[in-house]
Each structure stands twice: as structure tokens, then as C-alpha cells.
């Protein structure tokens, strides 16, 4: 196998943005924390042990929609990087172009994982109706 020569106008190493990778997992973590804290505060301060959890379920649904929108944008951003140039997988050459595509592909995968995890965390709204 010969090494590919990148002739694309990929960003320089110093201009590459690693933060994009952790955006989706961070949204997932924040969604989980917000959902958990909202339910905990509501049941401790507002709802009685058998009190309705309806407002919290709506809040979690709204958090979930917002989180999924954020994760989708992050995933699409990663997808654009993954599709940069004309090369296909695997992006495993030591070139600015493959580095750019690899980071994009990793962002897409993490966004997918975060989306599934966010939906799993939100699944509780279908099962819990009160503060018991």
C-alpha cells in the first residue's frame, strides 16, 4: 500500500478543533443531570410521595428534544468533516486531510452513541407517573 498524498485544503493541525468530539457526550451528560435534578427537586420540594410527576415528565421531554437537536447539529458537523474531500474510510493516514476526516467520523459515532443514550435516559417518562 502506498501512502496517500493529501492535496486537499485541510485545516492545519493547530486549527483543528478537538472540542467538537465531546460536544455530544456533554449534551448527553447535561441532559441526564437536568432530568435527574428536576425530578429530585420536584419530588423533594413540591410533590408528595404519591404526587404527580406530570410537569417533570414534560420537562424531561423538552430537555430531550433540545438535547437531540444539539446532538444532531453536532453529528451533522462531524459528517461534513467525515465527507471532506473524496477519500473514503478508513481515515488512518498521517495527513491533515485524514486527520480532519477521522475527527469528523469520530464525532459522528459519538453523536450516535449520545443520541441513543439520551433516549434511554428519557425512557423513564413512559414508566414513572408519580414521585413514589
Amino acid at each position: 500500500m502506498t501512502k496517500r498524498i493529501s492535496t486537499e485544503d485541510a485545516p492545519h493541525e493547530k486549527r483543528e478543533n478537538l472540542w467538537l468530539l465531546i460536544v455530544s457526550p456533554t449534551i448527553w451528560a447535561v441532559h441526564f443531570l437536568f432530568s435527574y435534578i428536576t425530578a429530585a427537586v420536584w419530588c423533594a420540594k413540591v410533590g408528595s410521595p404519591g404526587g404527580s410527576l406530570q410537569p417533570v415528565r414534560w420537562a424531561i421531554a423538552i430537555y430531550t428534544v433540545i438535547a437531540l437537536i444539539g446532538i444532531t447539529f453536532n453529528g451533522l458537523s462531524g459528517l461534513r468533516r467525515h465527507n471532506f474531500g473524496t477519500e473514503s474510510l478508513p481515515h488512518d493516514f498521517d495527513t491533515p486531510g485524514d486527520r480532519h476526516r477521522f475527527l469528523g467520523f469520530a464525532t459522528v459515532l459519538l453523536a450516535g452513541l449520545s443520541a441513543v443514550a439520551t433516549l434511554f435516559a428519557a425512557a423513564v417518562v413512559f414508566y414513572f407517573f408519580d414521585c413514589r
Partner: protein
């Protein structure tokens, strides 16, 4: 069969038998005796079955990848393996197990019907204060033992005055934390009679592992008779001059003289302390020291004289300094509290 295999077979059979032996007993969630524990055991077996299937599938895929002919796989098939086996399949399996597990929760958290037996349990370092609420609004305080009628729901209110404990009777239900400043609830539906074991399931200090209690599930009539007996004050020691009665009377006097009554209650006597366990019917319990010693004379003597050695960190001081014969008399008195 070669000699090596001849030796290996019994070893494997023994190892499997040893592991399976752990599936039963008075403290096994895999040997359920309550409705909630049956559901949890069902969840365990589904999870275990799912894990075995996934494991077998992964091993088969790994074997195929190593020994299968690469030329047979098109790129499309390879992608199908990676995306289908690595993304879709685990996601669907996890979603199914999550839905099944979450679906059980509402039923497990369902409150007991009105009029059910109500019991308050307070987890304290390192024993259990148990209060039965009777139908007439009264209370019967006991300690370190719980008895329940079979086939009847029992509603527990759980609390703690010191640190977080966790109330767990694996044979009957899942565990529930006891949190200072909060009151948590748990409902049990025992389905068969027997003696089981509860255990604190949240590390709570030096003697956390020594904080257990027996749980007796009884027929309804036997339970009603037992609760009536527990409600009664302690029997007054006989006034006759027999040697056993004299020993019991000496023990009762020692109990009051040495300050035991400052911490313990014995209903029907001057002992009205509320810091330690209620001892009104301690002689009739199955165990001593919160499930760690058998209820017999030597254990009473050992508990009184070596409290700090039997249960490290316990608030109750040891009474090694008592004159000769006092331990024996105290033990005889406590044993008499049936």
C-alpha cells in the same frame, strides 16, 4: 477418556455444584419467597439468558472472523456485520432489556392496599428498631427481628437517625435505602412461610457487616398470636424461692442497678430507656446482637461481657468488670424475657 480429562470432569462438576449451591438459602434473591423478589429473580434470569446469547454470538463471530474465508465476504457484508452486529443489535438488545426492567418498576413501587400491616423500621448503628402499628392505632416496639404473615402485603416505612443504611431481605424483595431526614417506603408480599435473613446493604460504619436480622414468615393465625404476645409487657419473675427464679430475680436487679435501663426498655418494669433495642421479649427472639449470635445463654453472657469484641464500634459499653456471677444472672434474666 484420557487421565487428565478423567480428573477434570469431577472438578468441573464440583465447581458448578458449588456455584449453584449459592443460588439457594435464607438470603438468596435467586430463591424468592416474595412477590417482589420473584419479579427481580425473573429479571435476573432474563438478563443472564440475554448475556449468554450475546456472549455466544460474539464468540461465534470472533471464531468466524478468524477461521472463515475472507474472500467470501463482500465489503457490503462486512459493513453489515459491523453496523448490524456492532451498532444495531446491541442497541436493540439494550433497549429491550431496559424496557423490560423499567416496566417492572411501577409494580414494585405500588403502595400496599389500605388496611395492610404497617411496620416502621429505623436503621441505627448497627441494629434495627422495629415498630408494628396495630389496627387500634397502637404501636409495638421490637428490635432486630421481623415477622410477617404469609400472603399478606406489609408496608414498611424506613428511616435512619444517624447514617445511610439500606434495608434488604433478598428472599422477599429488592433493597431500599434508609436516609437520615427522609422516610422511604417498601412493600413486601411474602408468598411462603420460612425463616429468611435481612442485611444492611449500604456501608454504614465499623460493624456494617454485623447488622443483620432474621425474618420469619408465618401463617396468619400464628402471626396474630405472636403479635399479641409481643404487645404484652414482660412476664414478672416468679417470687418463689427456687434457684432458677432467684437467679432470674438477681439478674433483673442487676439490670436495673448497672444502668442497663438507661438505654433499654423492658415493658412492665422500670426500664424505659429508648437509646438501645427494646428487650421486653428478647429471650424469644431467634438471634442476638442483630442477627450475629444464636439466642442462648452463652451468647447472652458473651454479648454482655465482650460487647465491643463481638460488635466493634458499638455504642453499648462492655460489662467485663461485673462481679463473678452477675453475667450469668443477667443472661438468665434476659433469657426469661420470652
Amino acid at each position: 477418556m484420557s487421565g487428565k480429562r478423567f480428573i477434570e470432569c469431577p472438578v468441573i462438576v464440583f465447581a458448578v455444584a458449588l456455584v449453584l449451591a449459592g443460588c439457594t438459602g435464607p438470603q438468596s434473591s435467586l430463591d424468592p419467597a416474595g412477590r417482589e423478589a420473584e419479579r427481580i429473580a425473573g429479571l435476573f434470569w432474563w438478563m443472564a439468558g440475554g448475556a449468554v446469547v450475546v456472549w455466544a454470538l460474539v464468540v461465534w463471530l470472533a471464531w468466524s472472523a478468524m477461521h472463515g474465508r475472507v474472500s467470501r465476504h463482500t465489503e457490503r457484508q462486512a459493513r453489515l456485520y459491523v453496523i448490524g452486529g456492532g451498532v444495531l443489535f446491541p442497541t436493540l438488545v439494550l433497549a429491550g432489556l431496559l424496557a423490560y426492567g423499567l416496566g417492572m418498576m411501577p409494580a414494585l413501587l405500588e403502595p400496599a392496599p389500605p388496611g395492610s400491616l404497617k411496620i416502621s423500621v429505623s436503621g441505627e448503628q448497627w441494629w434495627w428498631r422495629v415498630r408494628y402499628h396495630t389496627a387500634d392505632g397502637g404501636e409495638v416496639e421490637l428490635a432486630n427481628e421481623i415477622r410477617l404473615p404469609v400472603g399478606e402485603p406489609a408496608s414498611f416505612e424506613l428511616e435512619s437517625p444517624d447514617v445511610i443504611h439500606s434495608f434488604w431481605i433478598p428472599s422477599l424483595a429488592g433493597k431500599m435505602d434508609m436516609i437520615p431526614g427522609r422516610r422511604t417506603r417498601l412493600v413486601l408480599h411474602p408468598t411462603r412461610t420460612g425463616t429468611f435473613r435481612g442485611q444492611c446493604a449500604e456501608f454504614c460504619g465499623d460493624s456494617h457487616a454485623l447488622m443483620a436480622f432474621p425474618v420469619v414468615v408465618m401463617e396468619k393465625d400464628a402471626f396474630a398470636a405472636w403479635l399479641t404476645a409481643q404487645r404484652a409487657p414482660a412476664a414478672t419473675p416468679q417470687a418463689d424461692a427456687g434457684p432458677e427464679a432467684r437467679r432470674v430475680n438477681r439478674g433483673r436487679d442487676a439490670f436495673l442497678e448497672h444502668g442497663c435501663s438507661a438505654c433499654h426498655t423492658v415493658r412492665g418494669t422500670l426500664a424505659r430507656g429508648a437509646i438501645g433495642p427494646d428487650l421486653t421479649h428478647v429471650g424469644g427472639r431467634l438471634t442476638l446482637g442483630a442477627g450475629i449470635l444464636p439466642n442462648d445463654h452463652p451468647s447472652f453472657v458473651r454479648w454482655i461481657a465482650e460487647t465491643d469484641r463481638v460488635k466493634p464500634g458499638v455504642l453499648m459499653p462492655h460489662y467485663r468488670m461485673l462481679p463473678s456471677g452477675e453475667h450469668d444472672a443477667l443472661a438468665a434474666y434476659l433469657e426469661s424475657l420470652q
